[in-house]
């Protein structure tokens, strides 16, 4: 079987011939497109390390068949910075020690970007924690992660206001 799909990955169109329909989006990104920033943790949708945005929404790439995403726009951790300028969420994770070993961090950051875009949590740390519960951190950097999300949300809101003014 040969399936051809076309994706926009980090703004760039990628045409991929799949020789096997079993390929998940996670394996496609890592093994075929060599975008290894997205991590494989549990590979079963439990840890969130593989979180990416598909058409602007955060999902677990390990539980998504690549073949089903023909035509979709995918954003991974490799696509969030502008050159050497970090995305505000990336900068906030550094400023607030939102990680230790760093393995879960790409998933945490993509999840946080998705959370902020969803606009449901507001300034409530409890809502942030609840909305980030699909991302596990075995080092236990949760306190810093929550602070980073709150801070980045303010930065992004201020930037948005600046643009609107």
């Amino acid at each position: 079987m040969n399936l051809s799909i076309s994706l926009t990955v980090n703004g760039e169109r990628r045409d991929v011939a799949l020789d096997d329909p079993r390929v998940t989006l996670l394996d496609l990104l890592r093994e075929r497109l060599h975008l290894t920033g997205t991590k494989k943790g549990c590979d079963r949708g439990q840890c969130g390390a593989c979180t990416v945005l598909v058409d602007g929404r955060r999902i677990n790439s390990c539980l998504t068949l690549a073949a089903s995403l023909d035509g979709a726009a995918v954003l991974t951790i490799e696509g969030v910075a502008h050159g050497d300028t970090l995305h505000p969420v990336q900068a906030a994770f550094i400023a607030h020690d939102g990680f230790q070993c760093g393995f879960c961090t790409p998933g945490q950051i993509m999840s946080a970007i998705g959370l902020i875009a969803e606009g449901q949590a507001g300034d409530d740390p409890e809502r942030i924690r609840e909305a980030m519960s699909g991302n596990l951190c075995r080092c236990g950097a949760y306190a810093g992660i929550t602070e980073a999300v709150l801070d980045a949300q303010h930065t992004l809101a201020a930037a948005e206001k600046g643009r609107a003014a």
């Binding site: 955060r58 539980l63 409890e126």
Partner: protein, 352 residues
Amino acid sequence: MTPFDYIRPATIAEAVAAAATPGAAYLAAGTNLLDLMKGGISRPTRVVDISRLPGLDRIEALPDGSVRIGALVRNADLAHDAAFARAFPSVAEALLSGASAQLRNAATVGGNLLQRTRCSYFHDAASACNKRSPGAGCDARGGENRLHAVLGWSDACIATHPSDFCVPLVAFDAVVEIEGSGGRREIALEALHRLPDAAPERDAVLDPGDLIVAVRLPAAARNFAAHARYLKLRERTSYAFAVVSAAAALDLDGGTIKSARLALGGVAAKPWRARAAESLLAGASPGLPAFRRAAETALAGATPSGDNGFKIELAQRMVARALSLAAAGTPARVPALPASPFSSTAGALHVA
């Protein structure tokens, strides 16, 4: 994952025809199916991808006051649809209490109804499981079974249905629209899932090729919007399946309950409607005495299936608490920790 043929039909009719053959499985988001396939629990030889079928991703308010939810509506989109959440707040709360934000962004309405049990013996290919391999036996019976069923279980299977969403839906008389080889039909959600009896391998009363295309909530469900809650006890604060859950809704007329709706989750192989308890509440005055009587009635037929006798008492307390919260009124906004009995005020520490 075992190899499979991947088919993407363009119409519902093509999908039904493609999935009617043995070994076929429908794929929507895949959040449950792919997990099962990776574990070797599901081994479809043909995967029919319905995620692009047109017209199944809409939430429609129908002229008779009912609402029709397309089978491909994502859990998060339904929960955050303002008109839907206003009319059916406990359904939104149940959706938001399930899974994680990433999974809710992907998982569909139809897929939620047909998700498989989280019984760990079902998920462990090395264990005996009558649901997975009919006739193999049930290792859960003598195993770790404190989370298993206390209602409607059989000697063959003591697994529970894991859905949160289905619990308020069944309380509100939701109807499932099904497209099959013989055309369109509809059944009450309460009649969709099967109790295990001697055939636990059949979760639902669906035939090969049957496709859930929509779920409808009748207009009468709107009468409960001011007093409707979903309450879910988990073994961690978030992102866990229910030990026990309860959907409670009241239609109050001054100091009297005009009508009540009650269903439980995590206690049986299907979302468990407690009709006798509802009858008891109708005409009663809202308060703990009536709620406790209703709770006892709801669990009247419950028996432990293993080390889970505690769930009977726990479920009774959850019912009384859910009814009390419903009587107090639907909160203006879904709490920070949806459906949590430990939910605190905004900004407070969840561990405090």
